[in-house]
Amino acid sequence: MRGLLYVFSALAVIGLAFWAYHENYKTQAAQARAEALEREISLARQRLRMLNAEWAYLNRPDRLRDLAEMNFDSLGLLPLQPHQFGRVDQVAYPPRVRAPLSFNNPVDVSDPEAQ
């Protein structure tokens, strides 16, 4: 009986040790993965920052104004004027096109044979 107890407790110790080490390695793997992701995020952020800066640079007001002037013939862009504000009721609704009613395919709603 005592021998059995010893065997079981030894097995329990082995099992617990295995579990503990297993968890430890899992944690370390998760941390390594998280760090790799953080690095990736940081690189992506850096790239995003670069692209944002470039976007802002390409959209700087001076450049847009020069572009609008250069392409005035084809686009005719001018600064926004007060009179360009409109009201919703100034906008004409497109005429509503009504499909003509057609009776090519009549359907019987009452069945004479039901009587």
């Binding site: 998760a30 941390q31 998280a34 760090e35 953080e38 690095r39 995020i41 940081s42 952020r45 850096q46 920052r49 670069m50 944002n52 800066a53 976007w55 802002a56 640079y57 959209n59 700087r60 007001p61 001076d62 104004r65 600064p79 926004l80 004027q81 007060p82 009179h83 360009q84 504000f85």
Partner: protein
Amino acid sequence: MIRTPLRPLARILKARESGGNPDAIERENIRRRHEEMHDRDRRRAERRLLVMGAMFFCAFAVIGTRMGVLASSPPPAPRASAKGAEILAQRATITDRRGRILASNFDTHSLYAKPRRMIEPRRAARELAKIFPDLDAARLQRSFTGNSSFAWVRKTISPEQKQAVHDIGEPGLRFGRREMRLYPNGAVAAHVLGGAGFGLEAVAGAEVLGIAGIESYFDDRLRNPARGHEPLVLSLDLSVQAATERVLSGGMRLLNAKGAAAVMMDAHTGEVISLVSLPDFDPNDRPDPPTGEDAKAGESPLFNRAVQGRYELGSTFKIFAVAQALELGLVTPETMIDTTGPIRKDGFRIRDFKDYGPRLSVEKVIVKSSNLGTARIAADIGIERQKDFLRQLGFFDATGLELIEAAGAKPLLPPRWNELSTMTIAYGHGLSASPLHLAAGYAAIANGGRKVIPTLLRTRAPQEGTRIMSEDTARQSWRMLRGVVADPEGTATMGDVSGYFVAGKTGTAEKIKPGGGYYEDRIIATFASIFPAHDPRYVLVVTLDEPVETSGSEPRRTAGWTAVPVAREIIRRTAPLLGLRPEIEPPRLADIRRTSD
């Protein structure tokens, strides 16, 4: 293995024949066999001991090495989570109110030299001078052939330049990674942003430090790594700012002005929508401050006229005196004021621009801009009450705007505030303040009488400042200011923009001579406006330094001919950008009052 028998027959027979004891032979053989067994056992034991010893040695060696490694390497800090790998060691972005980037960080490279590693220092110096025209080949050569082991060549280089330096093929030229501050919009909002430079520099990187403007004011906030990913959102609107700069610089050129400033403020939140000072500069390549004997800080492009420039702002101050008189109940808009002149006091003469007749109503005093009428109203108010009122409006302190330059720009007050000062300050002489101070003062009127502190940060809620005047007084002031623009007799008739109901007050102030007295032909022209007049939302102050309008037969310098048309154009261009829809002005409901409260 052949076992030797214990009693070999041959020997036993021989022993029996010779009368010996065969048992002795057996014992002898047993003894021998035991000795053999003994020897074998000992050898085996020795081998086992050796193996055991080797194993123990290996185990101890492993443990010992591990202990050595642990002892010599820095201990890793225990961590609860995997957060905090250094992601952002950079400076936060600055954006305008709609999230458009005003300043951002940018990865770049620095160029340095290790002269000891150079193969052809002379050729390298020549080639570098070709790539960077501002570098001097002879100086580079001296630093490359001298004793030093290290020399900076450029703090930042572009990718094209980097490739060109690579192509020289000189192993002694090295690149270091670093970040630099980029202002993608160039000179737009240059005075607000200020600029940035490098602090501590190393090969692996450099500190980016704000050196002026908001970059310097919020340096700690921008460099705080915990908030590095969070942009600093300003109240500026990039498109409004750019349009204002464009119109103002056009106006400045047309009117031959030396400089110009404009401030546009939201009257309720105190947000500064645009802040322009001309001439300006490119913050990406901030010029050096002027040095030398005849350098005037006030003429440098770095000087922020809207915030640092303190000018006598002239008749724009009249509305403050009149508003206070209304608030104190001394006058109503219809009260007739004596405008006979000139007033002589302490050897000083107060005159009007031209004779407006013996009497004007208070409203007409503002509309026609009568110095005499305002001076008489101010004399009724008195010194102490006027001081208190102007202090409440913020004309005694710095504005509190979030710029490093704003803290030093306190208005210049008269050394002795006597009765004459009271009269002259009422029409804007004797007290010098920045255009921003004036905008804050007008914002208090436009905000229905509550104080507004200008801010450059995006704020969503209106400011609930202390009440300086009643809402009725503020309303009456709007109406009088509207008269300046809308009344055919007003001084700013050119200022109206149909649909936006501009109200405002002109100010034409002669500049002070350095030795004392005033210049005849050098003036500061100011137009302080609020719009729309029936429900003010924005305040715009435009100041021109020494403008001249030369389309007529003689040069015209008054604000009505200079600052007002510029302000009008700014409002016409920017109001739609602010989303203000042009409206039809509600009729003047002069006699309708709320009675329920």
